[in-house]
């Protein structure tokens, strides 16, 4: 089920009513759990079994890990959990990719091996719930938190429908305590939640699907060289689309949870106002970047094992982060390019940054001390470099990516003009406003802003948002991040 569908609206109204009836807290949690399974089964009912398997295995392994004192047995249990979780992920998400690369490799050595193409359907959100359950068992191994007391709470933690298929990726301490005591949303929470839900749908339905996806799709599916302006517009459109699609989902998820009285962690903080790439990853898909930092980068050594290892660890984390997004070498290249940017940023920062007693706003040695206009130019430059990475993220192949980059930098000439003036205007207006709004809001929050303006003004803006959602008449298309 997707947030941007009539089915979800009906589903959510029923859930809200049920959640506000005078049932016991346990019954309400059971309602939420059943609702979450229905939400997931609305895609492909059999994949619920995978979700159950992951939940049951990790619940019991987690408890055993916490209680186990024998280090060898403890490690074995951790390996069991890793094999279970990552094995499923590898089979469903990377099975075809691994086989394809294996075949290429053996063919390279002259072995004539051509297996049948696997027909594996990717269960929605498997990367997200695998990371959710993985962090629980790893936390249990390190005794970072206590085991979840009841199977019901653990199942709800894994399956809670707002975050289930596309995050935010939650940690047990962020959500489990919220299930332990009865919660009911206040009027303010419900209205805040509905406001965020409207905003999230506006981002997804109006900006991503209606205004930007057509241009991005036309450019990325065009066979043959394109004119420089068209390629740039297509890539900029995708920069906007991927942000509004994913941030739209996260905003909806946070809003929906808030209406039910739960708080999910923030996942986006105006990333296109980032100054530098460390800053970008503190603002883009925050729950994934912190997950990778805490469960991958730091465990493999982080910056504690010398300068050289820091660079290697950084790159390794970004390459795996790229691969997490999709089973293709272009995603690895996307991660690698971000790793490279982070390397360069670190080199510059280590070389030029001077210790300062004033809080450094961002990285790369740039701070607000540099002045607003200089910082904005750095932010624009960061946005420009980030936009280049999206070419690899979206392109079907390296050939296409290089062709597009060639066109963007004028290396390829005589490309065809594809986009109409209206398409270019839409992309230009939306991306310009996006960058300006991100800069203006970079340290603020939507709800803070909403509280500051007069109530009637909030009504008018909110009404315009809702009307735009209704009038664009785009509904039901899946969120891009579901495929990850």
């Amino acid at each position: 089920m997707v947030f941007n569908s009539y089915t979800f609206i009906a589903f959510f109204i029923i859930i809200l009513i049920l959640h506000n009836l005078p049932f016991s807290w346990k019954v309400k949690k059971i309602n939420l759990l059943i609702a979450s399974y229905i939400f997931y089964a609305a895609w492909n009912p059999p994949f619920i079994l995978l979700l159950w398997l992951s939940t049951v295995v990790d619940y019991f392994v987690g408890r055993a890990l916490f209680a186990q004192t024998n280090l060898t047995k403890k490690r074995l249990l951790l390996v069991l959990s890793l094999i279970g979780n990552l094995g499923m992920l590898c089979f469903f998400k990377y099975g075809g990719f691994l086989l394809e690369n294996f075949v290429s490799l053996v063919n390279l050595f002259g072995v004539d091996f051509h297996p049948a193409e696997p027909n594996i359907i990717l269960p929605a959100g498997i990367s997200f719930y695998t990371f959710t359950t993985l962090c629980y068992t790893i936390d249990m191994y390190h005794k970072r938190s206590k085991p979840v007391k009841s199977m019901l709470d653990f199942s709800l933690f894994v399956t809670f429908f707002p975050h289930l298929v596309a995050g935010p990726i939650v940690r047990p301490p962020q959500l489990v305590p919220q299930f332990e005591t009865p919660r009911q949303a206040t009027t303010k929470q419900i209205i805040d939640g509905l406001l965020l839900l409207s905003l999230g749908l506006f981002m997804k339905v109006v900006l991503a699907d209606s205004m930007l996806s057509g241009t991005a799709d036309s450019v990325f599916s065009f066979a043959g060289p394109l004119a420089t302006a068209d390629t740039w517009m297509g890539v900029l459109a995708f920069s906007g689309q991927i942000f509004y699609d994913f941030a739209g989902y996260s905003t909806c998820a946070i809003g929906v949870s808030m209406c039910l009285g739960f708080v999910l962690p923030e996942n986006f903080r105006y990333p296109y106002a980032a100054i530098g790439f460390s800053d970008f990853w503190r603002r883009w898909h925050i729950t994934l970047s912190t997950w990778l930092r805490d469960y991958l980068y730091i465990p493999i050594g982080g910056n504690r094992k010398g300068e050289g290892r820091t660079y290697i660890n950084l790159m390794f984390t970004m390459l795996l982060g790229g691969l997490w997004h999709g089973a293709s070498w272009t995603f690895v290249a996307w991660g690698g390019l971000h790793g490279l940017y982070l390397w360069l940023e670190k080199i510059i920062r280590d070389k030029f940054s001077k210790p300062s007693t004033r809080p450094v706003m961002a990285t790369a040695g740039v701070s607000l001390n540099s002045g607003q206009s200089a910082s904005f130019i750095y932010a624009l430059f960061t946005f420009f470099l980030i936009t280049l990475t999206w070419v690899f993220f979206r392109a079907e192949s390296f050939t296409q990516a290089w062709e597009m980059l060639g066109s963007m930098f004028g290396i390829t000439s005589d490309g065809a003009a594809l986009l109409r003036s209206i398409d270019i205007i839409k992309v230009w207006v939306i991306i310009s406003i996006t960058v300006i709004v991100h800069w203006w809001m970079r340290d603020a929050s939507v709800l803070q802003l909403a509280y500051k303006i007069p109530w009637w003004c909030l009504s008018i803006v909110w009404a315009l948002i809702v009307l735009a959602i209704i009038l664009v008449q785009e509904s039901g298309s899946a969120f891009i991040y579901f495929q990850f």
Partner: protein, 347 residues
């Protein structure tokens, strides 16, 4: 902001949204707008799911826009007592839908294939794009999408502003007709009343279009922009043989399971009909389809009762003519093709 103010903001927002939508709906209705369904994957899927009705209870039509305009569902239901299942796709070749039905072992029904040669034999990838998209939508339909279709239909039947082709934000922005860049194709804007889509995927012209010769001219110009009908055969030789072979394989599969297939050449007139005769000489295309497949065919030009229609924009019948044409088509299916309609009413 206090919770009280927030509540006030939410209430005013609801009032503003309701007031705008009500005003917009009333304005559009006063301007002559009427309901029209979004002719996309969801509506196609509803029809596609009906192809399994028993053979004596339904007939499936595939093709392009002509069969959607020319076959009047109410007349068909009234005369045959059957459910017409409309799987034709506007501006598209019917071949992907034919292959899909042929590969479906459970489809054993009666099939009408509308032949608009320029689209039927099109080698342009775009002409198969929508049928392939809709077929994939149907086969990948999730329970959530099924529920959304059920919830959406009452809304589309109630509000005229939910006509996506005319009143969606993008459609309205397109109407601004901002000059395009040199070399970039601008898809023409169709008059609003040229095409309405019913819940059963039938297309029909609204009275506003039928009665307005200026709109006829606009559409004739639009067809010119979009190709204007063929003037020379775009496909021949091995490519043509290959398509015919695939068509035969598919019709054979359907007939082997007990189904039946009839090809239909729906009417066109004026410049279109002239160009179609030049571009696709009957003996090289229409006759070859029938010879290769061994199926029966009904050509509008073979019957004095159907060879005289004037299509306002050269390509599609008016609703009034569609009723007349449907009656004759049923007669031909019964008399020339041996189709049995269990509850055939007098004609």
């Amino acid at each position: 902001m206090s919770p009280q103010s927030l509540k006030r903001a939410a209430i005013l927002m609801v009032i503003l949204v309701m007031a705008f939508l009500a005003s917009w709906e009333l304005y559009l209705r006063s301007d002559g707008a009427d309901h029209s369904f979004d002719d996309g994957g969801p509506l196609f899927s509803v029809q596609r799911a009906q192809v399994y009705l028993p053979q004596d209870q339904s007939t499936v039509s595939i093709g392009s826009s002509r069969i959607k305009f020319d076959l009047d569902n109410n007349t068909w239901k009234e005369l045959t007592g059957e459910t017409p299942v409309q799987l034709a796709c506007v501006g598209s070749t019917p071949l992907p839908v034919l292959y899909d039905l042929a590969d479906d072992p459970d489809f054993r029904g009666k099939l009408l294939i509308d032949v608009t040669e320029g689209l039927f034999f099109s080698e342009r990838a775009g002409s198969a794009e929508n049928p392939l998209k809709y077929i994939a939508y149907y086969h990948d339909l999730t329970p959530a999408q099924r529920a959304s279709i059920i919830l959406n239909n009452p809304l589309e039947s109630t509000f005229v502003f939910l006509d996506k082709d005319v009143y969606s934000l993008n459609a309205m922005l397109d109407k601004l007709r901002i000059d395009s860049r040199p070399g970039v194709f601008m898809f023409p804007i169709f008059p609003r009343d040229f095409e309405r889509v019913s819940e059963e995927r039938q297309c029909y012209m609204a009275p506003g279009f039928v009665q307005d010769s200026n709109q006829h001219k606009t559409m004739q110009k639009n067809w010119e922009i979009l190709g204007g009908g063929p003037t020379k055969p775009p496909i021949s030789g091995v490519a043509l043989d290959s398509i015919l072979h695939l068509v035969k394989t598919s019709t054979d599969k359907i007939r082997a399971r007990g189904g039946d297939v009839v090809f239909v050449r729906t009417p066109s007139s004026g410049l279109f009909w002239k160009r179609e005769q030049m571009g696709y000489p009957r003996e090289q295309y229409w006759e070859r389809i029938l010879q290769t497949t061994g199926c029966k065919g009904i050509h509008f030009a073979d019957d004095p009762a159907t060879d005289h229609y004037i299509c306002p924009e050269f390509s599609h019948l008016t609703p009034e003519d569609a009723i007349d044409y449907t009656r004759h088509l049923i007669r031909h299916l019964r008399d020339d093709c041996g189709w049995q309609f269990t509850s055939l009413h007098s004609m």
